[in-house]
Structures are given as structure tokens and as C-alpha cells.
Symmetry: C2
Subunit: 215 residues, 2 copies
DNA sequence: CCTACCGATCGGTAGG
DNA sequence: CCTACCGATCGGTAGG
């Protein structure tokens, strides 16, 4: 259902039987690990990490709770994998948007668009990523928070650069960057992929909102 | 610690011993019910409703978990009281802001300021109010969602009115009102009351952000 | 991948 | 307001 970011390491679990062809009848699917994470993600997003039971995750795949332990180490490890994958991917896209260059206005437009498009296309990852940080045990929680701080800093620094160049005007780099970040995060809570709005259209609109706010 | 909204009905629990004077030594404080809700609110906000145990709430008051049941009916009822009180108060303030009249620009400025100021001053109530909706059982959950829809509609309709009067310019009443709402909601997640920023200053700044976005 | 089961947690009640 | 306790839930393990 959801097209979750698969961390690079994820593929090492996959048997080399890449043939995803005809009848896979009773055999274990090639990417059971990925299927389990997808099911977990959807449940974490809709009812919350704590409320989700291993039995429910198994249900989605037609197996029992204890059977999951052949493919994942624990419930907590699944959350770690989901959240680390999410934050890493988001940061990767943000860096790409910044590296593409252009003037400060163009770069801001791009990182806002990337931010919003990700929060629409991957609303479950994004929603869980922001809501379940405190469900992570240490030291993973701190590691993720560190990535998030970097992500936020990139916004703030770009706003600052624009203000110093007299392209943007704001009474506070910090508040205006928070406002822009938060309106994008909000998208992950209400976006409906079955609706008629394409993520890139929404992203362009929000980038425009952000620019208006700053100019 | 937090100055929670006390629903009108809350006072009916309070003994008429209003004398909040000298030594209350071993006696039960006059507003045990309110104290319990305050402790619960702080825990719900910081570690989540599900993660909070009755024993932890009792700890904050120096009593055991089971003793709470002399003052509250259940953990769920505490959540209901907190969330209903929060949404009712927020809506009350929004209506007052709208009823104060003025042109569409002034009214928008005012409801954004009220929105943000509430989310800063009552960040715990606001945070729990948005995060724990699905922890509510029916029919309370639907009732609260109904109030929230009305709250959101008031934003959207005001944006629409401004656009029709050619005061505001936006490609979507819905998205721009969501963006404004969400940036305010975000405040409840990061606002630090111990910091040097007063809620009304933040509110005025965000009202300005919203107006810029729309004009 | 399954059943049986352990150990721990927790909301709520009984009965002072 | 307390201790003792019940009943249910749940993550994870044993051992096929």
C-alpha cells in the first residue's frame, strides 16, 4: 500500500530469488522483511506505535505474531528502521535541493517543495517520524533528533541568508522557518492520496505560500 | 504547573471550603479533581495517553494509583474532560475574536493571534488535543472532531470572504487555511514557556505571517 | 510458520 | 487514601 523508503541495508535480507513472476503459491515471499515493515508502518501511523500489537502486524500478512520474529528482531527495531529510513531520505532530498544551486529564492522554493511533496507522498513515514520520536529508545532517539536538527537548520540558515541579502524580510528567521516547516508537517496529517490533488501541485502551492510569507 | 481550562462542571466537585488559607496539613486539598487533571495533562502531553499509568499520575500528588478513583471515574474520563475543555475553550475564544467585528483583515489577524496565543499558553492542552484524538472512545471522539471541524471552517470561511472581497489572494482557501492552522498547531510542540518569547508577541508575529501569505 | 507459554504491566475493584 | 488482588493484554521465547 505505502511505498516506504527501504534503507539500503534492507535488501541484504532479500533472497537472490529475484524472479517475481508467476505463482509464488505457499512459499515465503522474497521480501518478507519489507512487507512486514510496510504493515507495521501503516499500523503505527493509524493507531500508534504503542497501540499496535505484533499480532495485528501479522494479521495483515496472514500469519501469527510470533512468526514475525523470523524476519524482524523486535517491534522496537521496526520503528528504528522506519524512522531512520525516513529521516535519512528526507535529508537526502533536502541536500539535493540545496545542491542544485540557484539564487536564495529558488533554493528556498525547492526545499519547501521537497518538504511538502515528501510529507504528502510519504505521509505515513512522515507522520510516524514526527509523532513517535519519543517511542524510540536511546541512543536511536538522539540520533534521529540530531538529523532533525540538521534538517531544520538548513531551513533556518536559508531564511537567514535570504534576509541578509535583503531578498527575504522577516522579524525572525527562527519563527518563520518553524512556521514553514510546521505547515508542511501538517500535510502528513490531512493529505488524502485518494483525493484529486497531486503531491507536486500541493508542493508548488506551499512553496508559493512560503515565499509570500518571506517577501 | 499548567493552567488548564477547568470545564464549568469541574467546580461542582469542589467542597465549599473555599478558604485556601494557612496550613492545609494532612487534609485533602479542596480541588483534588483539578490537581489530578493537571498532573494527567502533563503526563499525557509528555509521554502520551497510553504510556501514562494511573500510578504515575498518583505519584505526582504523592498518592497511589487506586486512590485516584475517589476523584475521577477512569483514565478515559480524564482524557475526555481535558480534550472537551480544550476544544470548547478554543472555540469560545475564536468566536469572541470573530464577534469583535472589523474588516476581514482585522478579523483574520485576530483569529490567527488567538489561535497561536492559545497554542503557546496552553501548549499541553493543545498538544494533547491534537495528538490524542484517536485515544478517545466513541461517541466523545466524534463530538470533539465535530468541534474541530467547526473551528477549521471558521478559518476557511474567513479566508474565502477575504478572497471574494479581493482583499486576500490565494489559489486555495482550503490549503491556505490549513497552512495557517498547522503552523499554529506546530507552536504547541516547540514553544518553551521558560524562554524569553511572550505568547502575545509570537501571536502577533504569526498573524503577520498569515496576512502576508494571503495578501 | 505454528501452538503453548512465560513474565511483566496495567486499569480497575474489594474492602477496609 | 491504602494494600491486596483480579483479569486482560502483550512482547518475546521454546520447541517443534
Amino acid at each position: 500500500m505505502s511505498t516506504r523508503e527501504r534503507p539500503a541495508a534492507g535488501r541484504s535480507h532479500v533472497p537472490s530469488v529475484a524472479a517475481n513472476g508467476a505463482d509464488a503459491s505457499h512459499r515465503t515471499p522474497p521480501d518478507r522483511h519489507g512487507e512486514i515493515l510496510d504493515a507495521a508502518l501503516e499500523l503505527f501511523a493509524t493507531i500508534g506505535y504503542r497501540a499496535t500489537t505484533m499480532a495485528q502486524i501479522g494479521d495483515r500478512l496472514g500469519i501469527r505474531g510470533p512468526s514475525l520474529y523470523k524476519h524482524v528482531a523486535s517491534k522496537q527495531e521496526m520503528l528504528v528502521e522506519i524512522m531512520a529510513g525516513m529521516m535519512t531520505e528526507l535529508l537526502r532530498r533536502q541536500r539535493a535541493a540545496l545542491d542544485a544551486g540557484g539564487d536564495v529564492r529558488e533554493r528556498l522554493e525547492r526545499i519547501v517543495a521537497v518538504h511538502v511533496q515528501y510529507h504528502a507522498e510519504h505521509r505515513y513515514e512522515a507522520f510516524v517520524g514526527h509523532r513517535e520520536i519519543d517511542s524510540l529508545e536511546e541512543p536511536e532517539r538522539s540520533r534521529i533528533l540530531e538529523l532533525r536538527r540538521e534538517y531544520e537548520s538548513n531551513f533556518r540558515e536559508l531564511v537567514q541568508e535570504g534576509r541578509e541579502r535583503d531578498v527575504f524580510h522577516t522579524s525572525s528567521d527562527r519563527w518563520s522557518s518553524y512556521a514553514i516547516l510546521d505547515m508542511g508537517i501538517g500535510v502528513s496529517a490531512w493529505y488524502n492520496p485518494a483525493g484529486s490533488v497531486a503531491p507536486d501541485e500541493l508542493a508548488a502551492t506551499y512553496a508559493d505560500f512560503a515565499l509570500r510569507m518571506l517577501t
